[in-house]
């Protein structure tokens, strides 16, 4: 049996990470995303219907992709009979599994799906080593 000292700060940071991270059991923040690790690239897609592209801000800092913007209400100053669609400013951080080539990142927006394709940095691509 192994005894480990209980570190209260470790627990706090772990909890915070679980809340912020998209992998945690906490409720995911808007927008819902999908992340796929392909051999040569990482693809992150977000379900963002009805977004004004002018409000969208995509940034990569280190190994974190940030998706920020605003989803506006279809019309102002009107009484809604029913109001279920999410709206407002959003700011989501996505932890990437590896370093990506920032200059080669491309993003498309089709049918309300924002797709960000990030080629992996050469140094992190899996490389076969030949045995002589």
């Amino acid at each position: 049996m192994r005894l480990t000292l209980w570190d209260p700060f470790k627990e706090l940071t772990a909890m915070q990470k679980a809340l912020e991270s998209t992998f945690g059991t906490a409720r995911p923040t808007y927008p819902p995303i999908e992340g796929i690790d392909k051999e040569d690239s990482v693809q992150v897609s977000a379900a963002l219907p009805g977004i004004d592209k002018n409000t969208l801000e995509l940034t990569i800092l280190g190994d974190t992709l940030t998706i920020a913007g605003e989803k506006k209400l279809p019309i102002e100053n009107v009484a809604y009979i029913r109001h279920e669609r999410p709206y407002g400013k959003f700011h989501k951080l996505v932890d990437l599994p590896c370093t990506v080539e920032q200059d080669k990142v491309t993003a498309t927006y089709n049918n309300g799906i924002l797709a960000v394709a990030m080629p992996k940095a050469e140094t992190v691509k899996p490389r076969q080593i030949k045995v002589e």
Partner: protein, 120 residues
Amino acid sequence: MVEEQAKPANEVRRLIPPVDIYETENDVILVADMPGVAKENLQLGVDNDELTISGLFPEPEATGKMLVNEYLYGNYKRTFTLSDVIAQDKITAKLDDGVLTVTLPKNEKVKPRKIMIETK
């Protein structure tokens, strides 16, 4: 990590699109979020005073390792009961960036109408 859930191969997941409904002087407007639905996969129908909207968000071929999966593919579908106020034959719709906007014009007789008073 999200675990893969077994799903019968033929079954398409049923999704419920969130909607906003509001009223203007002449119309009732319904706005539904259906991300990933292209025009060719969208269907609208009115039957027996019920409006049904449906759209397919097809799942693409798996091309790598899924790291995180917060949204679902499947078939969006929702039905609404239309009141007598709606002129059913004048309903129009458009799909932009995954948002379906259905305009349901009100019948002429329920629109507020100003009566002009003639002065001689």
